[in-house]
Assembly symmetry: C2
Homo-oligomer: 344 residues x 2
């Protein structure tokens, strides 16, 4: 299984390696007959040029690295696939790593990707989503980004990372307007960590909107935790236990919403008749739950394109806006309805 090279092809075709290279890259004229001979040999041996050797001279490798927190979470897998498709259309390839929430791993993967000489790295979630950037982490990132440009979906104070963000303010606007429009005045916010930028921004927006509508802000209605089913379930249970019970709940994502929904059902109430539930991310889960879930979509395709375009621009040294925002959209389904009369 000895690897065949352009020299093998060249020898058998009776031409030089340079000529074989020319037909491979197709960027210089080669006499048609020679060209055909070479192509026939390439076919015959099923030869494919070694991308490693190629990118050694090329300098640019046409590969983008992606570090995601965990593709087993639908949000990340959707963003990743969108990126992969966008990259392919632009002649790039992507490499995925899962940091699984471990900072050490995240850093190691960034190093590995740099060793592979990827043109740029896109970081989905992870430490770059922190509200307050860790100093030590920032320092390490700064060292790495002197080598390879980094695109993040959050922010990283004190670094030169490009940012492509979901407009979190707009996202909470959509949800609050929808619910308030349905007559809800008692709206809870469940799940997420306040030290994560996007979650913090949602909380900020939540308070701002309440004030605009002259509605009370209640400490008890804001219940953070993680981004999973368990958090939604547990926090909704606590809301039932300690009261007061809201007429609508905004969950930090579809998984948390599933937990909220189970808690509500277990307490003998109906969705949306008794309590409306809505969430973020608009993953496939929204269609599978009963009732179907109202959720905020991010135009994943566009999101992926923007991310990849930004990464490619960075890789090729082209200027791009330092911060770009993706506008979210509300998808209304069956889990939200007008508040019951006499309530609120």
């Amino acid at each position: 299984m000895k690897n065949i090279t352009i020299y093998d092809i060249a020898r058998e075709a009776g031409v030089s390696a340079a000529t074989v290279s020319r037909v491979l890259t197709n960027n210089a004229n080669v006499r048609p007959e020679k060209k055909q001979k070479v192509q026939a040999l390439i076919e015959k041996y099923n030869f494919r040029p070694n991308a490693m050797a190629r990118s050694l001279t090329d300098t640019r490798s046409r590969v983008i690295g992606i570090i995601a927190a965990d593709v087993r979470n639908s949000y990340y897998s959707k963003v990743f696939v969108a990126c992969e498709m966008a990259a392919r259309e632009r002649g790039y390839m992507v490499i995925l790593c899962n940091s699984l929430g471990e900072t050490d791993l995240e850093l190691m993967q960034l190093e590995t990707l740099y060793e592979q000489r990827v043109g740029a790295v896109i970081q989905l979630g992870g430490r770059a989503d922190d509200l307050v950037s860790d100093t030590e982490y920032v320092e390490t990132i700064n060292q790495m980004t002197s080598n390879v440009p980094l695109v993040v979906t959050g922010k990283l104070d004190g670094t030169v990372c490009r940012q492509v963000q979901i407009d979190a303010g707009k996202a909470i606007d959509l949800l609050m307007d929808h619910l308030i429009g349905l007559g809800h005045k008692e709206i809870a916010l469940i799940g997420g960590r306040k030290d994560v930028l996007s979650t913090f921004e949602k909380l900020q927006g939540y308070r701002r909107i309440l004030k605009e509508h002259h509605l009370d802000y209640r400490e008890e209605y804001v219940r953070d935790g993680g981004y999973d089913y368990e958090t939604g379930y547990r926090q909704m249970n606590e809301l039932f236990a300690c009261g007061p019970v809201p007429t609508a709940v905004i969950a930090i994502n579809d998984y948390a919403a599933a937990g909220v929904m189970r808690s509500i059902v277990e307490h003998g109430l109906r969705i949306p008749e008794d309590i409306s539930v809505a969430s973020y991310d608009n993953t496939s889960l929204t269609e599978l739950l009963n009732p179907r879930l109202t959720s905020v979509d991010y135009h994943y395709e566009k999101f992926g394109e923007k991310l990849i375009e930004t990464a490619i621009a960075a890789a090729e040294g082209i200027e791009v806006p330092q911060l770009q925002l993706i506008a979210p959209e509300l998808i209304v389904r069956e889990s939200t309805a007008a508040v019951k009369n006499g309530q609120g």
Copy 2:
């Protein structure tokens, strides 16, 4: 942002490039003082050796390519992450591509991965799952596998691919034994395409087990289609429309099960009191649905390990059994219960 090389380090350290290489690979003795000097410079410039150049001489690149049908499907993302973790533990890295069910893309990706000189490719799903292998496809694969070894989760007749499969016979056994043990005699099989090996094997097992228990095989109870929510929903609706209605349903995966469940609920019946529902894959969905879903688990961690070990063995030219089976396990939850008295 000119890339720094071992020569830059060597010059500044007053040693030869070979010495720098030696401290990098750590496989030869270097005088401590020189070693420290070099390491200091590596730190200073945050230097990381070019993996491309490295693997040019190394020949083996310590990278495994993975082609999955679609990581947005939980099954694939779980297998992928398991593979990634197993690979990391063994000093390997993985590259993921999504074929999205397109044969052309699948082949293109196989080529791209070969160009990257990955040591082996693992194909999750895709054409290698076909019951009857397409001749033209097999031919193309045979050409490629003369270059790079391929590990599949299905089979590919007429090729030399290693196979790591879920034991589909055992999987249907588990489900049927469980349901029959609960007194069910009317069991439907919903979703999946019969031209997919694992689905076909389940169907075979289904008929065999019915016969062993002297139960009738009813054509109407076997309803194929896709592997998605829609199929489950549509086929269960048809079952209601055309009758007879079974007392238990086995869905081809958790997504299809979600569709089946919605259909049942919409027809005013309860799960599991009126109809039991069970499925394959044991994704996170099983915990989110209401009621929680009984499902067959595949020990994803082991599955990933076996896949990666096989791929690495293939990459390094070590012999491994041509076919290896993963034993599935039944996870019983709330969606299955004893059949109602008087039924069956």
